[in-house]
């Protein structure tokens, strides 16, 4: 509930209550610590951690970033401290937070995913697990699980058995039909979905005949992908009954409204955190102001109200 009178920004997804629909996206917010220096991150609806894998990973070689028109490419490649490092170094900080903590989990094999999800979902501070089967920047695992509907369903079903908290499956846009993959995750037992992860992309320096990213290709994010994301949230909303968390290029409160109207129950803010460290808190304030200006008392009423 916002402090503003008569403005209710709260949302509920799979029984988990969020102060507002604004969640910071995995990979753009670390484990929260860094941004806590800029603002009170408890004012956010939630934070989604960097993808955590069974073992510690060093990620891809540098350069890992390239600027592209109205967007950016990254190829970080799931650099993370591993499950044990996460529990040792990051959980103590996350335990003190009052916003919803969603742990993003990735893996190389089905066993890796199940192992990591079981350990991480047992952490008291983790209120939800986001299954990362859509990272375009790792060779094995990651997106390999997220492309074919059959494999989406299989990994979801396997992980679900080990997940002590609601399971959110993060879908890749680099697929033939997003609705098929969304249904597959739902059939596999996903409690909710998040979409979209980054769109596969590339930047080239023609003078040197070299790709800009050391990993050659990467994932495109930022305002450039917003129309793609909106279409996929819209199509997914028609295809499944479980809640959707929408993301892809959100930088303004109007963007949040668009995703909610398209069918999202909440949103994630990704690249905007990278462009501006205060993006999260600014959007929380902008959303309340926009609701006031537009006489919207309850943000939940917007979800799926698109009239075609």
């Amino acid at each position: 509930m916002s402090e503003e009178k008569n403005i209710d920004t709260s949302v509920e997804i799979c029984g988990v209550k969020f102060r507002n629909p604004i969640i910071t996206a995995s990979g753009t917010f670390g484990f929260g610590k860094e941004y806590a220096e800029f603002y009170d991150i408890n004012k956010l609806g939630g934070i989604c951690t960097k993808g955590v894998t069974k073992e510690r990973r060093e990620g891809n070689p540098s350069p890992r970033i390239a600027e592209t028109p109205m967007g950016m490419l990254n190829s970080v490649g799931l650099q993370n401290p591993g499950v044990d490092g996460f529990i040792r170094e990051d959980v103590p900080f996350l335990e003190k937070l009052d916003c919803v903590v969603i742990a993003n989990v990735a893996g190389r094999t089905e066993e890796d995913y199940c192992y990591a999800v079981e350990k991480i979902s047992a952490c008291k501070c983790v209120k939800m697990v986001e299954l990362n089967i859509s990272c375009p920047n790792v060779k094995a695992g990651g997106m390999a699980f997220g492309v074919l509907p059959e494999s989406v369903e299989k990994i979801t079903r396997a992980v679900k058995k080990h997940c002590a908290k609601p399971l959110m499956v993060k879908l890749s846009p680099n697929v033939a039909n997003i609705a098929d993959n969304a249904r597959a995750a739902e059939n596999g037992g996903a409690d909710c979905l998040s979409l979209i992860n980054t769109v596969g992309g590339m930047a080239i320096n023609w003078r040197t005949r070299k790709p800009v990213l050391a990993n050659v290709c990467g994932g495109l994010s930022g305002p450039a992908i917003k129309p793609i994301a909106l279409k996929m949230v819209y199509e997914t909303h028609k295809a499944v009954k479980i809640p959707i968390v929408g993301m892809g290029g959100i930088t303004t409160a109007d963007d949040i409204m668009e995703f909610m109207v398209a069918g999202a129950a909440a949103v994630q803010i990704g690249s905007a955190n990278i462009f501006d460290p205060c993006a999260g808190i600014n959007l929380v304030n902008e959303l309340t102001n926009l609701m006031k200006r537009c006489n919207i008392n309850n943000v939940r009423e917007l979800t799926g109200t698109l009239s075609v």
């Binding site: 990979g27 753009t28 670390g30 941004y35 800029f38 990620g59 540098s62 970033i65 990278i274 205060c278």
Partner: protein, 254 residues
């Protein structure tokens, strides 16, 4: 670290492709240490900020040195006095001197000289000797800055000003005589590699400030990873933005 609004006070070309940009803040700045940097919002079509070392600072202003190399920096070149811009600062570990470091050798290459100018501001009680190198006489900058706090040796690759040759080669000839306690350096990668060799051969500890592409600039996105060799021989990725930008030349893998 704080995201602060600045007003552009001046923006002038020092050479054909290097700007000196002075920004004045509406509030008192957090304490800045030598070798720290800021992350400047470029605006327009450029969504990613750009990291720049701080060349001069006081309680309310910072001056940056900007090499104009691409679209983002070309836009920065268009900043006019009175424009409002935002920047996160201060970022990074900066240069740290131990008490045993009394005689400091500053080794700068081109625009990489800029962060070294701030070292005597943080550590005024040390002896400084500076070796600064540029491509040619037209590219020479900062000679007065370094001259103000100690002996300065200017070098150019083509010999059109000062001593001829790469600054690291010129320093190699003199270093045994100077016997500095520590070398602080900043410049392009070939220069840093040469400095690393010199440091390894002479056993003079050396610290460098590197340049890398950055994302968030606050330590969260892991885009600016640089490989660092730990004491146990293990190679790990550190964040240039908040774990660096200053690393020991012994540990950084260039």
């Amino acid at each position: 670290m704080k995201d602060i609004e600045f007003t552009v006070e001046s923006n002038i070309f020092l050479t054909k492709s290097v700007l000196e940009l002075k920004l004045v803040a509406s509030e008192q700045l957090p304490e800045i240490r030598c070798g720290q940097f800021l992350h400047l919002k470029v605006g327009g079509e450029f969504l990613l900020r750009r990291p720049f070392c701080i060349y001069k600072f006081d309680s309310h202003s910072v001056t940056l040195i900007v090499a104009v190399v691409g679209g983002g920096t070309r836009r920065i070149a268009e900043f006019k006095a009175g424009d409002k811009v935002k920047a996160v600062l201060p970022i990074g570990n900066g240069f740290t001197l131990g008490n045993e470091h009394r005689k400091i050798l500053l080794l700068g290459g081109g625009v990489g000289c800029a962060p070294l100018v701030t070292v005597p501001l943080t550590y005024p009680d040390r002896e400084y000797i500076s070796y600064i190198g540029f491509a040619n006489s037209e590219a020479v900058m900062f000679e007065k800055d370094f001259g103000a706090f100690g002996k300065t040796v200017l070098c150019t690759d083509d010999g059109s000003a000062g001593r001829k040759g790469y600054v690291t080669d010129v320093l190699r000839e003199d270093v045994e005589k100077i016997k500095p306690d520590v070398i602080l350096t900043c410049g392009n990668t070939p220069m840093l590699k040469a400095a690393a060799r010199l440091s390894a051969e002479t056993k003079i500890p050396a610290y460098m400030s590197g340049e890398t592409r950055m994302g968030c600039g606050v330590g969260a996105c892991l885009v600016c990873a640089c490989a660092v060799k730990q004491k146990n021989g293990e190679i790990v990725n550190k964040r240039a933005c908040v774990d660096g930008p200053v690393f020991s030349l012994e540990e950084i893998i260039l």
